[in-house]
């Protein structure tokens, strides 16, 4: 069976070089695909997310995107927004105005900033700001088990919410984060008990080209570890800001994530004058071609 061939890109997001980041599949000409077909494609690609680009329906938007995991559609996520913006630019679907694109997604209209950097461009998306739901308690047994043996950092762990929920825990130093062997059973229980995606750990770093090291374990959606997490990093930035914990980092800092999975992602976080959080990075088109899904 042969159907329509649609333009397709597989983009590496938060990638200083191809292969270092978090892959995203993008179907560029998605008109005519119904919901069940989009879900089937997203299941088939087996990536954390697959996005579908459409002409915008809201005034002022450059394009509309729908974001699917292998299981379900989601309203917003960071790495799919950046990879979708990159694919829209790379295929000529959208042109920035004054360095900005406006992405229409289920979470509304979100600005994507396009900045030239050496050897290419960097994209950043404004992420709906998350808030602290509550701090951890001694009787959060799944959390205590997940963090057993870790030297903690200065801020108490907290459950935060910005669309989706994450547990965030600061550890004492970079080595504590990089050498952590995640207790996947405990994190899965934690995610189930608190209706959250799972746990993110982070630590401040010194003498590195990055200021924060992050690892994310979204066991709540069946993924052991995420190589580069846009929304989770934005949640950490908002948490640091809300907790007066940005000292030493300032309002813009660089994150290293994914080395423990063989990647080496680089994420740029910024809290702007209006206290809005932006997460950005480089994107690379790794696969460019067409898709025929019948």
């Amino acid at each position: 069976m042969s159907g329509k061939r649609r333009r397709f890109q597989q983009v590496d997001v938060f990638a200083p070089r191809a292969g270092a980041g978090n892959p995203l599949a993008v179907v560029v000409d998605a008109e005519g695909l119904d919901d069940s077909r989009m879900q089937a494609i997203a299941t088939w690609t087996n990536l954390a997310e697959t996005t579908f680009l459409f002409p915008p329906t809201a005034p002022g938007a450059h394009y509309r995107v729908r974001i699917f995991t292998t299981r379900t559609e989601i309203a917003f996520a960071g790495h799919p927004s950046l990879g979708s913006a990159h694919a829209a630019l790379a295929t000529g679907l959208a042109m920035p105005r004054d360095g900005l694109l406006v992405q229409q997604c289920q979470a509304g209209l979100l600005p994507v900033r396009v900045s030239p950097v050496a050897g290419g461009q960097r994209l950043a998306v404004r992420v709906p700001r998350s808030r602290i739901v509550r701090h951890s308690r001694v009787d959060d047994t799944a959390l205590q088990q997940a963090l057993a043996g870790c030297a903690r950092g200065e801020l108490a762990p907290a459950l935060v919410e910005g669309g989706r929920r994450w547990w965030l825990a600061e550890l004492a130093d970079e080595d504590q984060v990089r050498s952590l062997r995640p207790d996947t059973d405990a994190i899965r229980s934690l995610a189930e008990q608190t209706d959250s995606l799972g746990l993110c750990v982070f630590a401040r770093c010194s003498g590195r080209p990055y200021q924060l090291v992050v690892r994310a374990f979204p066991l709540g959606v069946g993924i052991n570890e995420d190589p580069a997490s846009g929304a989770a990093n934005a949640a950490i930035a908002a948490f640091l800001d809300e907790s007066s914990g940005l000292h030493g980092l300032g309002n813009a800092y660089v994150v290293s994530q994914g080395r423990e999975l063989g990647r080496d992602a680089e994420l740029f976080l910024q809290i702007d004058a209006d206290s809005q959080v932006w997460v950005g990075g480089r994107c690379e088109t790794v696969i460019a071609g067409s898709l025929d899904f019948g």
């Binding site: 069976m1 042969s2 159907g3 061939r5 397709f8 597989q10 590496d12 191809a18 292969g19 892959p23 089937a40 494609i41 299941t43 088939w44 690609t45 087996n46 990536l47 999975l261 063989g262 690379e284 088109t285 790794v286 696969i287 460019a288 071609g289 067409s290 898709l291 025929d292 899904f293 019948g294």
Partner: protein, 289 residues
């Protein structure tokens, strides 16, 4: 200037995109080193990614290297069927008298090609299977099988490269309705060096003669959509017990996880097993790695 290589992402063991088992194929893989191949196979996040190379041995049509996200494999079924499809689609190889010879880490393997275009079928000869004398703790088996309605043949451990536990169930409904005890299957397979457990049943269906499901929870794959090696192991086991539906039959696998794979199985009189089917080219493009 970046070097662009032809890249295909295929759906194997199906005529309908989305119903089979996906495979990533880098068609022009010369000068990619092992570490880069492994890194790319990790990045695609598919069960296998293959790399096509010019053959190095006389008589071979092409050479293929097969990687999972974690390691290189000497041979695997769906990657071989898909790689042969990619070699033909890209013009890298032409069938001679309906045959290709695939060079892979397991050696030179014959590949049979019939039909053209959407009607093309590709089959590979699976490595010879051995029935291993093995027993597992009866309590563990009890946890695995629970209240399943069993078929005629006893459970068997078959080695045809990977090792598969095979369990015949009473009928198609017993297979399709099975709620696998994944934790127990993981313990059983780990305790016996098996990659997974496959269940099957005979059925009298117009479109298929056997229904199959394969579970590899210890390998991080709760259920595999369409599995070449498990189907080859089942065919060898049925042949050994003179219980084949026919010398040529078709198996259905994957519906329980939203796929609908079809595996064509041929068993020669001497017991050699060929597995094959259709392949769809879903993504056709170039790779910049």
């Amino acid at each position: 200037m970046p070097l662009l290589r032809r890249f295909l992402q295929l759906d194997v063991f199906t005529e309908r995109p989305g119903s089979g088992n996906p495979l990533a194929v880098v068609v022009d893989a010369q000068a990619i080193d092992d570490a880069s191949m492994q890194a790319f196979a990790n990045w695609t996040n598919l069960s296998e990614t293959t790399f096509l190379l010019p053959p190095t041995q006389p008589g071979a049509s092409y050479r293929v290297r097969i990687f999972t996200p974690r390691q290189e494999l000497p041979f695997a079924g769906h990657p071989s069927v898909g790689s042969a499809h990619a070699a033909l689609e890209s013009g890298l190889a032409q069938a001679v008298n309906g045959m290709l010879v695939q060079e892979c880490a397991a050696g030179l393997l014959p590949v049979r090609v019939t039909g053209e275009g959407p009607a093309r079928r590709i089959s590979v000869r699976a490595p010879q299977a051995r029935h291993l004398p093995a027993a597992a703790n009866p309590v563990l088996w009890n946890d695995v099988l629970g209240a399943l309605a069993l078929g005629k043949l006893p459970a068997a451990l078959i080695d045809n490269g990977p090792r598969w536990w095979l369990v015949e169930l009473a009928d198609e409904a017993a297979v399709r309705d099975m709620n696998p005890a994944l934790a127990a299957i993981a313990r059983l397979t780990q305790a016996t060096g098996a990659v997974g457990l496959a269940v099957f049943a005979h059925c009298s269906h117009a479109e298929h003669d056997l229904v199959v499901r394969a579970f590899c929870p210890a390998d991080g794959i709760d259920e595999d959509p369409v599995t070449g090696s498990a189907n080859a192991a089942i065919a060898a086991w049925l042949h050994l017990n003179q219980s084949l539906p026919a010398a040529n039959y078709r198996a259905s696998q994957g519906r329980e996880i939203g796929r609908d794979g079809r595996v064509d199985v041929d068993v020669e009189a001497g017991g050699a097993v060929w597995i094959g089917g259709s392949t769809c080219t879903v993504v056709d493009g170039s790779l910049d790695w």
